[in-house]
Amino acid sequence: MKRIAIALTVNGKAVEVVAEPREHLADLLRGTLMLTGTHIGCEHGVCGACTVEIDGVPQRSCIVHAGSCDGASVRTIEGFADDAVVAALRESFSREHALQCGYCTPGMLVVARDIVLRLPDADEARVREELAGNLCRCTGYRGIVRAVLGVLADRRAGSSRAEPR
């Protein structure tokens, strides 16, 4: 089978790989690049476990062709070590018991970070709406929702302290 060459940036590093035309990004990340923090849960775009950041926004890596990522910048759960928002989310996820088996957690964090940055004023209903595309089978979601709301509240409190009017 014909293979295609792809050049992309993954977690800040330029990589050149070859993939089968039918390979999806999640398989490329997990297989060729051994970034197994991106999990595969359904391979039809519903469960959200494979969510990664592509060109700065969360996307489903299981329904994105590897070949279509030529030139793209991809960030996986392994690429957030220096990210303050994810650090705060990790802390609040643990505090609120927002994870059990850990399988949904990487995708959950990628989406949660997007919520925190894109919707700083989100209330509980909005957070629940935005998280609806990430399934968790263990927690019942209460901890996850509270963890995200907690980071939002902390940031609001922090920014109001930083920018007094």
Binding site: F93, C101, L135, C138, Y141, I144
Partner: protein, 781 residues
């Protein structure tokens, strides 16, 4: 210092030790593990429910990459027998032999360098079969004249069970009698991670190493060794991080056996990872029950008796190890629920159908039985004109009767069942709901009370006679030379946080900081035998075993510590991580004891106990009939009469799990189970058509609840210790998944009561709710 230290033991909401790796994406699941030379397997699976198999045509040139049962003559069939009288055991070949008995049954294993290439091979295989009639409906499957799935059986039933109290006189004396026909849906358990197997043969150790996503590594080892004709020492099972279990991974898989046989045959590591389509369309299901239930009560609502005809759709095969009848055999024994019931007549059939086998899913039979009993109670209350709480209070076992043996012989250990109900009702403004109803709103209030037998042991399971009967649970504790404690247990953790809670138990006994306690799980080479994690048993059984092993280790530590302090054993205690003199100054740290034993033995006194600082201890509660946690769920639900949609406005759980080892983790268990119960109540359904074809192939068809479907549950604890367990803890892992269908449908039916409509079948989907409303409309002129 003392308070801070106690703040890490039993009862502390310690954050989980395992969180850091999961939050970093460093969890290690089967699918994350690769080996040089790895071969991937895809299975050719049956496209039809029932057929005589004439043959498989392998694609030209791939004869050595495609394996059918004829190619694996050394592999035995899976037999999951039961000691229950009349049980018919199925012969389940690991790949179809002669017949296929459900859609998705594995027929051939196709091996290639990648999964995609293996799937290409499977797609290129030819399949020659003669279709036979499907047996898709459990209500007719076992009747005479139905086509037979297992042709040497007289009927399509694994088992029939009867308990026959005489209820014939109740019509004459009862103030009310109701009969309901109820149905629960076939479900998929749907952990986010599917099953996965990586099998390899180690020629040096002459050992088969199978890395598999399982809840019960030791039981899988026994089953696998048996099917492959190996001795158990030749098999090592490793279960790494498991991405959710819920019962789905409590099974010896045909795929596990096939991968192991192929790894031995090919001398290469062989892997199969279940994809979601396989999980939904081919793998084991759960929960499908049918009830015709009648209950009688006096004017005050006191139950006089219950009669029930139940059918459980057990699918095509008896799965190893739990067998086909764990659900059916329990219907009659769970029906009395938490109530004082004088008479019970119950006939249950475990029907054999051309569908995947069923497995015990979180809650096991209780979820369906609770649904049947609790909705029937509400129907009785409506007929009597009394409230849902009144009829329950009239029947709940009172606290002064504890421990209480009910009419089927179950013994409830402790608790105040009526108080849980009172608290749950008090948490909801029922008057306001009544006012809204009076104003014409379709809003309702629903209750469910139930208890959850957990950690039931030898005395219960030997009667069922399944392939394993749990006995003494073991834990191995080992003090390292640096004073770190290793705790090795044969149960497994798949989200339950046992690396944390068992460390808390060890800390409670020894005072070693939980950060210095390493809990080792999931490897038969590293852990003592255990039947694994299922049946809400780990906190009681493994918790008890770790406590027992730590107590015995404490004694060894005390002996050495006393010698180092130059006092007698009787003059020291072990606490807060040190050996201390009683009533006097002077102590030595456990780490110093360990260092002395391992690295400075010249300092040990002559005649010291040579047993060392490793202990394996066994534990079983006495009696071992199981703890009974219990709960009351109270729900406010609003029904959209136009669309049939149900909104959960409020959800209250009052739960008693005895002493909580880690309340944070217990809350997580209850809330997670609850979300699954909401799925059972409102969303999840694996429909089969008359030809036995599964109709939900993706998660767009099989709906799992998400953040917008699960409310912000209010959870309240009572904490009545069990008198039988090491800290008073009770099994509580399944409780959350038991109550929701009953409580939610009771709330829906309360909302629809004014219309005379009742939902009877699960899930209470919009179409079913609308159909119930329409049926009521048609009944009224």
């Amino acid at each position: 210092m003392t308070d801070a230290s106690k703040g890490l033991g039993v009862g502390a909401s310690l954050r989980r030790k395992e969180d850091a790796r999961f939050l970093a994406g460093q969890g290690r699941y089967v699918g994350d593990i690769v080996r040089p030379g790895l071969l991937e397997v895809a299975f050719l699976r049956s496209p039809v429910a029932h057929a005589r198999l004439a043959g498989v045509t392998k694609p030209p040139g791939s004869e050595s990459s495609v394996f059918t049962i004829e190619d694996l003559p050394e592999v035995r069939t899976i037999r999951a027998n039961s000691a229950l009288p009349g049980f018919r055991v199925s012969e389940q070949p690991v790949l179809a032999r002669g017949k296929v008995r459900h859609v998705g049954e594995a027929i051939a294993a196709c091996v290639a360098a990648s999964r995609a290439a293996a799937e290409d091979l499977a797609a290129a295989c030819g399949l020659d079969y003669e279709a036979l009639p499907a047996i898709a409906d459990m209500t007719t499957a076992h009747l005479p004249g139905a086509p037979l799935l297992h042709e040497d059986w007289p009927v399509n039933a694994f088992l029939e069970i009867r308990r026959t109290d005489d209820v014939s006189g109740l019509d004459a004396i009862a103030a009310a009698k109701v009969t309901r026909t109820l149905r629960t849906a076939r479900q998929c358990m749907a952990p986010l991670e599917g099953r996965g197997v990586l099998a390899e043969w180690d020629p040096r150790l002459e050992q088969l190493i199978v890395t598999t996503s399982t809840q019960m590594p030791h039981v899988i080892r026994s089953g696998l060794a048996d099917c492959l004709g190996l001795d158990e020492g030749q098999v090592r099972i490793v279960s790494p991080d498991v991405g959710g279990g819920f019962g789905y991974k409590g099974i010896l898989l045909p795929e596990e056996i096939v991968c192991a046989a192929l790894a031995m045959r090919l001398g290469r590591p062989v892997r199969w990872l279940e994809d979601r389509f396989e999980q939904l369309s081919a793998s084991a299901n759960c929960r499908e029950h049918h009830y015709v239930i009648t209950a009688w009560a006096d004017r005050a609502g006191k139950l006089l008796g219950v009669a029930c005809e139940a059918i459980v759709d057990a699918g095509a095969y008896s799965s190893y190890p739990f067998g086909a009848c764990l659900e059916a055999a329990q219907v009659g024994s769970i029906l009395p629920g938490p109530y004082v019931l004088p008479l019970l007549s119950c006939h249950t059939v475990a029907a054999c159908t051309s569908k995947p086998p069923i497995l015990p899913y979180r809650g096991v039979a209780r979820t369906g039985v609770c649904y049947a009993m609790e909705t029937t109670l509400d129907a009785l209350a409506r007929k009597l004109g009394i409230t849902a709480q009144a009829i329950r209070l009239a029947n709940l076992v009172p606290p002064q009767a504890m421990p209480y043996r009910n009419l089927v012989g179950k013994v409830f250990d402790s608790g105040d069942y009526p108080e849980a109900l009172r608290r749950a009702v008090a948490a909801i403004d029922v008057d306001r709901i009544r006012a809204r109803q009076a104003a014409g709103e379709a809003v309702g209030f629903g209750l469910a009370t139930f208890c959850e037998q957990g950690a039931h042991g030898t005395s219960v399971y030997h009667a069922w006679g399944i392939p394993f009967v749990p006995g003494f649970e073991q834990a191995h504790v080992r003090l390292s030379p640096d004073g770190v404690l290793e705790v090795r247990v044969g149960v497994h953790s798949h989200g339950q946080g046992m690396e944390t809670s068992l460390a808390q138990v060890a800390h409670q006994i020894l005072g070693i900081h939980p950060d210095k306690v390493r809990v080792v799980l999931g490897d038969t080479a590293l852990t003592p035998y255990s039947t694994g994690t299922w049946g809400s048993r780990a906190a009681v059984m493994a918790g008890g075993a770790v406590a027992e092993a730590c107590r015995q280790l404490a004694d060894r530590i005390a002996v050495i510590g006393a010698a180092l302090l130059q006092v007698s054993r009787a003059d020291v205690t072990v606490e807060e991580g040190r050996v201390r003199r009683r009533g006097a100054e002077g102590s030595v740290g456990i780490a110093d004891v360990a260092r002395t034993w391992y690295r400075a033995p010249q300092n040990l006194p002559p005649g010291v106990d040579r047993g060392g600082l490793e202990i394996t201890a066994g534990y079983r509660p006495d009696p071992d009939t199981g703890t009974h946690s219990y709960a009351c769920h109270a729900v406010v639900a609003r029904v959209d009469l136009e669309t049939g949609a149900v909104v959960l406005e409020d959800y209250v759980v009052v739960e008693d799990g005895g002493t909580l080892i880690n309340p944070l983790i217990v809350d997580g268990q209850v809330l997670g189970g609850l979300a699954q119960g909401i799925g059972t109540a409102l969303y999840e359904e694996m429909p089969y058509d008359g030809d036995g074809q599964p109709l939900a192939a993706t998660l767009a068809d099989y709906l799992l609840p998400g953040t917008t479907e699960v409310p912000d549950v209010r959870l309240e604890h009572m904490a009545t210790p069990s008198p039988w367990t090491s800290f008073g803890q009770k099994g509580i892992g399944e409780s959350g998944a038991i109550g929701p269908p009953a409580a939610i449908v009771n709330a829906i039916n309360d909302a629809l009561a004014g219309l005379g409509a009742e939902v009877t079948d699960l899930p209470a989907s919009p179409s079913r709710v609308l159909a119930a409303i329409e049926a009521a409309r048609r009944r009224r002129p």
